[in-house]
């Protein structure tokens, strides 16, 4: 199986005067089409790790290799294009654009990369809204939705461009256990159907155990890495 993302000796130190090291010598490889979960206590460095994976943050030392290429030499515009085409993000704090409707938010990753929206894309956006159970509120402004609805919208948005990889930070943090279950089934389904790689941070062990691989972070180090 081919490697979609490779992290080599990643260290992350915050601050310049008062230095706090958050990640210590992380080495991780992710396979194309795998379904991974990252668990760990609050403050252990999960989000930091994910931001580095997503090229949003740069490591203090170490290398990220995507599609055989190190990100350290890539220009800002190149990284932006890579993120737009290859990664779908679901952030811990769902982050929709409040000036746009739910559907417009879902379409945003496509519009960033293209001038016009073809009918198929529009249909797919609506289909995704239906899949996350939001077809009734898709024309609501992002501000007129509950936290859980916003989170589901963010998931639909991450899926729109059919990226190779989805990075999700507590994507079901605001959802009840039934909805959580439904969403994970959906993500698994997409994983199986399209071969999308999933890397999901969760504190819910029950959910984590449904993944192919569980990585546990403790104080910035990998304390557990099991593949089923």
């Amino acid at each position: 199986m081919s490697t979609i993302l490779e992290m080599k000796n990643i260290n992350k130190i915050y601050g310049t005067t008062v230095k706090t090291q958050v990640l210590y010598d992380i080495n991780l490889n992710f396979n194309q089409g795998s379904f991974n979960s990252i668990i760990g206590q609050s403050g252990s460095g999960k989000s930091t790790l994910m931001n580095i994976m997503g090229t949003l943050d740069s490591p203090t030392s170490g290398e990220i290799i995507v599609a055989g290429k190190s990100t350290s030499g890539m220009k800002a515009s190149e990284l932006a294009r890579y993120r737009n085409q290859s990664i779908g993000f679901v952030f811990q704090f769902h982050y929709l654009l409040p000036e746009f409707t739910a559907l417009e938010n879902v379409l945003m990753p496509y519009r960033i990369g293209h001038k016009t929206i073809p009918k198929e894309t529009m249909d797919r956006a609506k289909e995704l809204m239906a899949l996350v159970g939001l077809e009734k509120v898709m024309n609501n402004n992002a501000t007129q939705m509950s936290g859980g609805q916003q989170q589901r919208t963010a998931i639909a948005r991450a899926l729109l461009n059919q990226p190779k990889m989805i990075l999700a930070d507590e994507p079901t943090g605001n959802l009840d256990s039934l909805s959580t279950e439904t969403i994970y089934d959906l993500l698994r389904d997409i994983n199986e159907r399209f071969g999308t790689t999933f890397i999901i941070i969760t504190h819910d062990r029950r959910i984590a155990e449904k993944a192919d691989r569980i990585i546990e972070i403790a104080d910035g180090r990998i304390s557990l890495d099991v593949t089923r």
Partner: protein, 388 residues
């Protein structure tokens, strides 16, 4: 581009009050600019018009001994042909005489014109308040002050005493009021022929007066050069009004500079206002910019959002400004009137100037949005994603 434009409009709509206030601010700035500009231009036009509107802009005289020009009609047509900016030309014979009436006397400047041609410069018929222009030989037109001083009336005969002590009788055909005391008192307007007869001269003039078109009065120096080169080397001398009115010109220039200064400073304050509001708006929208950047929007597109906001604000501001400015001008020219019904302040509404003001406002708004655009471009999404 399309996405940036849509995001820009959504941002502006989402904080509508703020947007309307900036537009109002720009509008007021532009309207002040338009009003001040129209006012100064109007004042200058009316000043120039009262000063040289009914006067010769170029005068050709003869430097030879007696100063007379005998071939005046040839010179006149030569001069006229030298530059098509010349709108009117007349020969003129001027000489002093003494008006004597019932024991009183005053000096009277006889000005003999080709009256039809001179109408193009002096518009005599506009200023005749009593009687009519001289038609027959021996008829003269006097000023209203001379009339009042000597208690004269139309049709009356007056006695003129020439420098060589002869007495010549002329008949008054009418009176003019040029609103200038000196002219009203001592000018005596008549035909060239009558003037020649009074002073026992042949068919001569002692100057040729030319006027250029209204919109090219400040090009009189260039016209003069053309006339000079056309007339060739001779004893003829050409003088133009600008070299005779340096004080007026420097006064006008001073006005223009202060008007431009006011406009520049109004624009600077508008630009600073917009720049600061847009800078705040980048802060307000940094979360959204961060999300968009995480999703892969290019830095150039993210800065374009703010440039477009500047453009939109500029366009709407300019429109509001033009409406306000014209409204203000209209109000002034309609409600602030002199007793005779003419406006206290003569505004000059120049569509080109208004268009220029509007363009400057739009460009200024785009310039003002450069700083926020740059900020938006350099914003790092991780700072937004991390700090929540």
């Amino acid at each position: 581009m399309k996405l940036s434009a849509q995001i820009a409009t959504r941002f502006l709509k989402s904080s509508l009050t703020q947007t309307l206030i900036i537009i109002l601010g720009i509008g007021i700035g532009v309207s002040v600019q338009i009003f001040i500009g129209s006012l100064i231009q109007g004042l200058q036009k009316s000043l120039v018009n009262t000063t040289i509107g009914n006067a010769a802009h170029l005068t050709i005289t003869n430097d030879a001994d007696d100063g007379y020009i005998s071939d005046y009609s040839a010179i006149l047509s030569d001069a006229k042909a030298s530059d098509d900016r010349i709108s009117a030309a007349t020969p003129l014979l001027t000489a002093s005489s003494l008006l004597e009436q019932d024991g009183d006397s005053q000096s009277l400047l006889i000005r003999g014109f080709d009256l039809d041609a001179a109408e193009g410069i002096y518009e005599f018929s506009e200023y005749v308040v009593d009687g009519q222009l001289p038609a027959a030989n021996g008829e003269v037109l006097l000023g209203v002050l001379a009339r009042d001083t000597f208690d004269l009336s139309v049709g009356e005969t007056i006695a003129l005493i020439t420098p060589d002590k002869r007495t010549v009788e002329c008949q008054i055909s009418g009176f003019f009021d040029y609103k200038v005391a000196q002219a009203n008192q001592s000018w005596c307007i008549t035909t060239l022929k009558t003037a020649q007869d009074v002073f026992l001269l042949d068919d001569v003039a002692n100057s040729i007066e030319l006027q250029v078109g209204q919109d090219v009065v400040f090009e009189s120096d260039a016209v003069a050069e053309n006339v000079i080169s056309r007339l060739g080397s001779s004893t003829l001398v050409v003088k133009e009004w600008q070299s005779q009115n340096e004080q007026l010109l420097s006064g006008l220039q001073g006005q223009s500079i202060s008007s431009i200064m006011i406009q520049v400073f109004v624009m600077i304050s508008v630009v600073l206002g917009i720049a600061s509001v847009l800078a705040i708006s980048v802060m307000q929208k940094s979360r959204q910019i961060g999300i968009l950047k995480a999703m892969g929007i290019q830095n150039s597109s993210s800065s374009l959002i703010f440039l477009i906001q500047g453009l939109i604000l500029g366009i709407f501001g300019a429109i509001v400004g033009i409406l306000f400015g014209l409204g203000l001008s209209y109000a002034f020219t309609t409600f602030a009137l002199k007793p005779d019904g003419s406006p206290v302040i003569p505004l000059y509404i120049d569509p080109k100037f208004i268009a220029l003001s509007a363009c400057i406002a739009v460009v200024a708004c785009i310039l003002a949005s450069l700083i926020p655009a740059r900020k938006s471009s350099t914003l790092n999404p991780i700072d937004i994603i991390r700090n929540s």
